[in-house]
């Protein structure tokens, strides 16, 4: 699904990713943890195609395609979804019209006609149930005046609408209370399938109690320095990152 090979990237001439390797197979859930400033959010932005980031080396294959050759829109239409750490507000654009433009963009890519109004509304109703997003929020302007939890639920709703091949969750747990965390996680779990992969970026093991990963990676200074199963997250929770730093001699 995703094969990252020796990826190097910088922003404003500061080198952030320094030779990152990661392979995600279909159906797998990978978690990336790491201290602040290790490059977690940069990785998410680079994969999604944010143009402020300069790619300085390496390659990324996504579903057999050269991901780095595609622009952000093409990546999204090819099935890459990023749940934002800080979802953006777009005043005056209703959530539902925003999603309709997004769904039709994907359909155009697949050679399909724009979705019919009724089919679209049926789909909205069905997917909104996943994260308990009520009608009021669906018709409001995108993220405008949403609480932190509502914004994150909206991200997962959008993910459900777009049915991506690979979903990257960038600190989706930040700013969530326990109830919202449960709702968001249940939404994600409902979408797990043998064809769909997830890359979960988080600071806290807590999220991984709800969304149980197949693999956990530690990102430090722009590289993955350790990988393991879900028990690695528990170990990090208990011991912090210092012991890894010592082990790798950083």
């Amino acid at each position: 699904m995703l094969k990252i090979n020796e990826l190097k990237a910088s922003v404003e001439e500061a080198s952030i990713l320094k030779g990152l390797n990661l392979t995600i197979n279909p159906g797998e859930v990978h978690a990336i943890m790491g201290p602040n400033g290790s490059g977690k959010s940069t990785l998410a932005s680079v994969l999604a195609g944010r143009e402020e980031y300069e790619i300085e080396g390496g390659s990324v294959a996504f579903d057999g395609e050269d991901l780095l050759e595609l622009d952000a829109t093409e990546r999204a239409r090819a099935g890459l979804f990023l749940a934002f750490q800080y979802p953006v507000e777009i005043p005056g654009v209703s959530n539902i019209n925003f999603m309709r433009a997004a769904v039709n963009g994907k359909r155009e890519h697949e050679g399909l006609e724009p979705i019919k109004g009724k089919d679209f509304l049926d789909m909205v109703k069905e997917k909104a149930k996943l994260v308990e997003l009520d009608g009021r929020l669906r018709n409001r302007s995108v993220n405008e005046g949403f609480s932190g939890g509502e914004k994150k639920r909206n991200e997962i709703f959008q993910m459900a609408m777009l049915e991506p091949k690979l979903a990257i969750l960038d600190e989706t747990d930040s700013g969530l209370d326990i109830d919202a965390l449960r709702i968001v996680s249940e939404g994600v779990n409902a979408m797990r399938s043998p064809e769909r992969s997830f890359l979960v970026i988080t600071h806290y093991q807590r999220l991984l109690d709800y969304i149980v990963p197949d693999f956990v990676h530690v990102l430090m200074d722009g590289r993955i320095v350790r990988s393991g199963g879900k028990e690695l997250a528990l170990e990090l929770e208990e011991k912090g990152y210092d012991w890894i730093k010592e082990e790798i001699g950083a």
Binding site: I96, N97, R100, S141
Partner: protein, 482 residues
């Protein structure tokens, strides 16, 4: 790193060449360049006007000669040479038309290119269109149907001949000849325009619409529009404008007067898409327009404008709230790009008691353009309990564009409540990226964001026009679902 993708898209979205830049080759009956009493007499004679109309024009000309072109707007342009302009150009097609079939096929093609085929408009939207090309009205539809209700909707030339008592009673009462340089000029040389009268208690059953279009090179267009809504009546009036693409500047100095008598309501909507000139500021229309309405007791006038064209725009649709409990509204979206300049806004003059006004202005500046809001809210001593709410927002699309706000507030009655809000923001790269990441292409992303920003104003437009306005802002489906 600069966000190249966005700049490229902006260029594509806003830098499209002017789609309506074609000229229609119809033999045109054009006066020699220059302005003098003789030219005014010629215009009046061509139009077979009565003596009082000629005298009115000559008086206006005398006034105009004593006036100077204003230099207070935040605009920088080479002032037109008023002696180099031809003041009359009528398509050579004199006889009165009875049906669409009699219209010159060239003209019909022009209308088709504009996407406003009269037949289609008739059939699809129930809009009565008075099509003005180079100042002479070429066809008016739906007249019979309106006539049954006593509604008069015709060209100004026809009104002068057929309804002189109404025209004489109201013409120049809202915007006196000497009001300003351009209104004086218009009063002297106006060649045509629309006249509309809604009788007492009648609710006009359809949107009345006029399309203006400047065709002949080196001509100015001076329309004169007068809408009179008698007591308790209602009318919604739409005005759309396009002009062919030309290198030299074309002058457009229109005057629109609205009279809302007691308890009447007039809704006046404009989508202005005159040729804005090329990306270096060569050519384009100089749009110097005076629009004003007077509100009598418990009446309401609502101006809505979407201004995307013209090289230079100078325009302040205003309301004189004379009657007690009258209401004035101004909703505006003004988009400038490349070297365009706009200085636009409104004046709300509160004279009556309990008068209310609302101003919502949304400016969007791209390229190297400058976009200014200029507004006056004046509460006179007689206007007890007057209220105004103003909101002026500016959106910058580039680092090289400018947004300016000049709000003037004069309150002479202590019971007044006046609120003013203003914001300036730059289009968010985060917003654009958020859209891109959802698989929305950059062009559509900008369109969505801009439309969202202008939504409050676009929602004020009648359906038929909202579609066109949305296209103009290169818009997608906003407002069609949910």
């Amino acid at each position: 790193m600069a966000y190249d993708g966005k700049d490229k898209v902006l260029e594509e979205v806003t830098g499209k060449s002017y789609e309506f830049g074609f000229t229609t080759e119809i033999e045109s009956d054009k006066a020699p360049a220059g302005l003098s009493e003789d030219i005014i007499r010629l215009i009046s004679a061509k139009k077979e006007e009565p003596e009082w109309m000629l005298q009115w024009r000559l008086d206006a000309f005398a006034v105009w000669q004593t006036m100077e072109e204003p230099d207070w707007p935040h605009l920088n342009y080479e002032k037109p040479d008023y002696q180099a302009i031809s003041y009359y150009a009528a398509p050579k097609q004199k006889k009165q038309l009875n049906s669409m079939d009699e219209v010159d096929p060239e003209l019909r093609r022009t209308m088709d290119k504009l996407g406003i085929s009269l037949e289609e408009q008739k059939r699809l939207s129930g809009v009565a269109v008075d099509f003005v090309m180079d100042s002479v009205s070429v066809a008016t539809s739906f007249k019979d149907k309106l006539a049954e209700l006593g509604i008069i909707f015709c060209s100004m030339s026809e009104a002068v001949k057929e309804h002189p008592e109404l025209v004489r009673k109201h013409l120049g009462t809202v915007i006196p000849t000497r009001d300003n340089f351009f209104s004086a000029l218009n009063s002297a040389v106006f060649t045509d325009g629309s006249f509309c009268y809604i009788p007492k208690g009648v609710r006009c059953p359809m949107e009345l619409s006029t399309y203006f279009r400047i065709n002949e090179s080196g001509t100015g267009q001076f329309e004169r529009t007068l809408v009179v809504a008698d007591e308790g009546s209602y009318v919604s009036y739409l005005e759309g404008c396009t002009a062919p693409q030309r290198d030299e500047n074309q002058l457009h100095a229109a005057v629109v007067e609205l009279v809302a008598l007691d308890e009447a309501e007039i809704k006046y909507s404009t989508v202005q898409n005159w040729y804005p000139g090329d990306e270096n500021g060569k050519g384009g229309v100089f749009n110097f327009v005076t629009k004003r309405g007077i509100c009598h007791r418990r009446s309401k006038i609502s101006w809505t404008q979407v201004e995307t064209g013209s090289a230079v725009t100078w325009k302040y649709p205003s309301c004189i709230l004379k009657g007690d409990h009258s209401v004035g509204e101004f909703y505006s979206v003004a988009v400038t790009n490349n070297a365009q300049q706009a200085d636009t806004g409104t004046k709300m003059i509160h004279l009556g008691k309990n008068t209310h006004s609302t101003i919502i202005s949304k400016g969007i500046s791209a390229g190297n353009s400058h976009n200014s809001y200029r507004g006056l809210v004046q509460i006179m001593p007689s206007a007890a309990n007057a209220r105004n709410f103003s909101q002026c927002d500016s959106l910058l699309m580039t680092d090289t564009s400018g947004a300016h706000t000049f709000p003037y507030v004069e309150v002479k009655n202590p019971t007044a409540q006046v609120e003013h809000e203003a914001t300036t923001s730059k289009i968010g790269e985060d917003q654009i990226f958020y859209c891109l990441q959802r698989g929305i292409d950059a062009e559509q992303a900008i369109s969505l964001i801009v439309n969202g920003y202008a939504k409050e104003v676009l929602n004020q437009l009648p359906m038929e026009f909202a579609v066109e306005a949305q296209k103009l802002l290169s818009i997608s489906l906003e407002g069609s679902v949910g």
